[in-house]
Every structure is written in structure tokens, then in C-alpha cells.
């Protein structure tokens, strides 16, 4: 197996490009593909200050590393979600990455700063853990970007993530979500710009990139994600990809080229609601109280109480 570029020994095949690469040229491919996404979707200006949402996993650390190599001023933002040892370990990976490179990592903690964590908060609010987690992260990312005057929030969503979300949205014909499933959401109504520069790279690419660059990341999966539909969509798409290399890319980028604009109307209908500051936290919201503050209220109201033995009153009916 020879490198497509230099004809030296290759260490990885990228079947959707029908090409093999050595380490040097695979790393360059990852940088080039990221830059191509940034340019194609007008994600970032060269002097943008960006805040990278960092989990300690491969995708967020890879995108942080690539942005720095591309010359962007990029700080990291980590949220402690309170998911047992998984959160403790993920924070360690994020912190070590930052420390070893002299980077700024801002840390929020859901329990410390907001009085609840994902496992208890999602139960109390009767939401799926991934739903409560996603809602909390989006709110806190936005808040951190506003607080720090960052020009954009960068997330490590990759091609597999986007293709799987697209599959879920198509299976259920979520028209408003389809209209918003774009790699670049411009700043609007007080919400900061959000971009996904890794949409041309697969999970296999980002894992291989981290391995080659010596980026130590948390390999373990979030214990609360086990069994979610997103994972089953990814598995289904990878089964298709094996028989039809490039299928994930064609699915997602074909949607962006030929279909996304058709759903813009559905999105604008849902976005016509008035956005006003949340009464509690001041964040932009379509309700008097934003979704995060409602979640926080329900989660922190549900203080566990100790149940003692019940005693039957004398004379009570059986």
C-alpha cells in the first residue's frame, strides 16, 4: 500500500477518496479538508477569536489542534457534566491537552455552577440524558462565547455525526431540523455563530489523526449514550459505507447541495417567534424563561428526601 502523494509506505487507506496515505500526508489531508470546509461554508474569518467546545474526546481535541495549525486564535471550553468517573476522566484529557500546549481552557461545571448534573437532572426533568446534556451544553457554550466576546463557537461534529443526524431527521421528516442542519449557523438574535469544520472528516479519520499527532484522548464512550438511536444510525451508515465507499459523504453533502434550501422555509416559520431575554438568566429565548433555566429549575427542585418506615395509624381501615 503506497501513499497517494509521495509513493512511500502508506499507513492508512481512505476508501471514499480511493487513496492511501503516509502519516505526513494523512495529517495534511485532515488539515486541507478542514480548511476546505471553513472556506466553502465561510465559517471563519482569519482574525476570528474562536471558542472550541472540548469534551476530551478525539473530535474536539483534533479540531482544536487543526485550528491552531491553521493559525486561528482558539481557546477551549469544557463543561463538567457530572457523569461519574467518565466526566472526571474527560476533564483530565482536556486539561492535559491544554497544559501541554500552553493553551487556555475555560471550565464550567454543571453541578458546581448550576446545582444539578446530567444523570439526576435528566431524571428529575423527565428528559432523555442526551437531550438534557445537549440542551445544557448548547446553553453554556452560547453563554461562554458571549461572556468572552468570542466570534464563533467551534464544535467537533464530523461527517459521521452529521450523516447520522441527517438520517434521523429524514426518517422522521423533521422539516424544521433539516432546515437548520448546516455546518455554519450565523450569529443571530443574540446567539453566537456556530461552525463545524470537521464535516469532511470521518470518525476514523479523527481517531487516526489523534493517534498520529500523539493526542491522548478519552477512548471510552459516554455511559449514558449507550443504546441511543444516533449510534444505531451510525452503525447502519457504516454498513452501507463498507459496500459503497463515499456513501456518507454523498448523503450529507448531497443534502447540503440539493435539499437543505428546500427546508429553509420550515425553519424560518419556526423562527418567526419573538426572541426576548430570558427572565432568569438574560439569554435569548423564545419563551419568558429559557429552556435551560426551566430544566435547571426542575432538576434542582427535585431534592431527594429520605423515606422512612410508614406507621399505620391506630384504627385505620385495612
Amino acid at each position: 500500500m503506497k501513499c497517494q502523494v509521495c509513493r512511500g509506505p502508506a499507513i492508512i487507506d481512505v476508501r471514499r477518496h480511493n487513496a492511501n496515505f503516509c502519516q505526513e500526508h494523512f495529517e495534511r489531508l485532515c488539515r486541507d479538508q478542514t480548511k476546505k470546509s471553513i472556506d466553502e461554508f465561510s465559517m471563519l474569518e482569519p482574525d476570528d477569536r474562536v471558542l472550541v467546545a472540548v469534551s476530551g474526546g478525539k473530535d474536539s481535541l483534533a479540531v482544536w489542534d487543526i485550528l491552531l495549525q491553521l493559525g486561528y486564535e482558539a481557546d477551549g471550553f469544557y463543561i463538567g457534566l457530572g457523569i461519574g468517573t467518565y466526566s472526571d476522566e474527560s476533564r483530565g484529557y482536556a486539561q492535559r491537552f491544554a497544559d501541554e500546549r500552553g493553551l487556555t481552557l475555560i471550565i464550567d461545571d454543571l453541578l458546581r455552577d448550576h446545582g444539578f448534573d446530567v444523570p439526576h437532572g435528566s431524571r428529575a426533568a423527565k428528559r432523555a440524558p442526551c437531550s438534557a446534556c445537549g440542551l445544557s451544553k448548547r446553553h453554556l457554550f452560547d453563554e461562554a462565547a458571549r461572556r468572552g466576546n468570542y466570534d464563533a463557537i467551534v464544535t467537533g461534529h464530523n461527517l459521521d455525526d452529521e450523516a447520522a443526524v441527517l438520517m434521523g431527521n429524514v426518517l422522521h421528516w423533521q422539516a424544521d431540523y433539516l432546515g437548520r442542519q448546516l455546518p455554519h449557523l450565523p450569529a443571530a438574535n443574540g446567539f453566537p455563530k456556530k461552525v463545524k469544520p470537521l464535516v469532511r472528516l470521518t470518525e476514523r479519520d479523527t481517531a487516526a489523526y489523534c493517534l498520529m499527532r500523539g493526542i491522548d484522548y478519552l477512548v471510552d464512550e459516554c455511559p449514558m449514550a449507550a443504546g441511543n438511536k444516533h449510534l444505531s444510525y451510525k452503525a447502519a451508515l457504516n454498513d452501507i459505507e463498507v459496500d459503497s465507499p463515499g456513501a456518507k459523504h454523498a448523503f450529507f453533502f448531497g443534502f447540503l447541495d440539493r435539499a437543505a434550501h428546500r427546508f429553509a422555509a420550515a425553519t424560518s416559520e419556526t423562527e418567526e417567534v419573538m426572541i426576548t431575554p430570558c427572565e432568569r438568566c438574560g439569554a435569548p429565548s423564545s419563551n419568558d424563561v429559557c429552556a435551560f433555566c426551566r430544566l435547571s429549575e426542575r432538576a434542582t427542585d427535585a431534592v431527594p428526601i429520605e423515606l422512612g418506615r410508614t406507621r399505620r395509624r391506630a384504627g385505620a381501615r385495612k
Binding site: I11, I12, E221, V242
Partner: protein, 53 residues
């Protein structure tokens, strides 16, 4: 598993999707066409991560 075996064949025998796994030996990525010796010790690493947030 009995060796020697090619990396791509190893994944097939383990019924693992090649798009979702990397094979690593001594911290280095091993290409799909490499033949692993019968005493080789490798890590087969899943690359799939979960949340849809």
C-alpha cells in the same frame, strides 16, 4: 486468534466494521494490508462516539 493474519481479515473474522475501527500495534496505526505475525499483540479500537448534541 491464530496468525499470521492480515489486518483486514482480522477485522472480518471479528465481525467488526473497518470504517468503525482502527488496529494499533505498539502505539502505531497498522494498515489494512499488513500481515500480523502469530505473536503480534494489537489493540482494536472503536472510533464511534455517541451523543447527538
Amino acid at each position: 486468534m491464530d496468525g499470521p493474519v492480515q489486518v483486514s481479515v482480522l477485522l472480518t473474522r471479528l465481525d467488526l466494521n473497518r470504517e468503525a475501527h482502527l488496529v494499533i500495534e505498539d502505539g502505531q496505526l497498522v494498515p489494512g494490508d499488513k500481515t500480523l505475525g502469530k505473536d503480534a499483540v494489537v489493540e482494536v479500537r472503536s472510533v464511534i462516539s455517541g451523543g447527538a448534541a
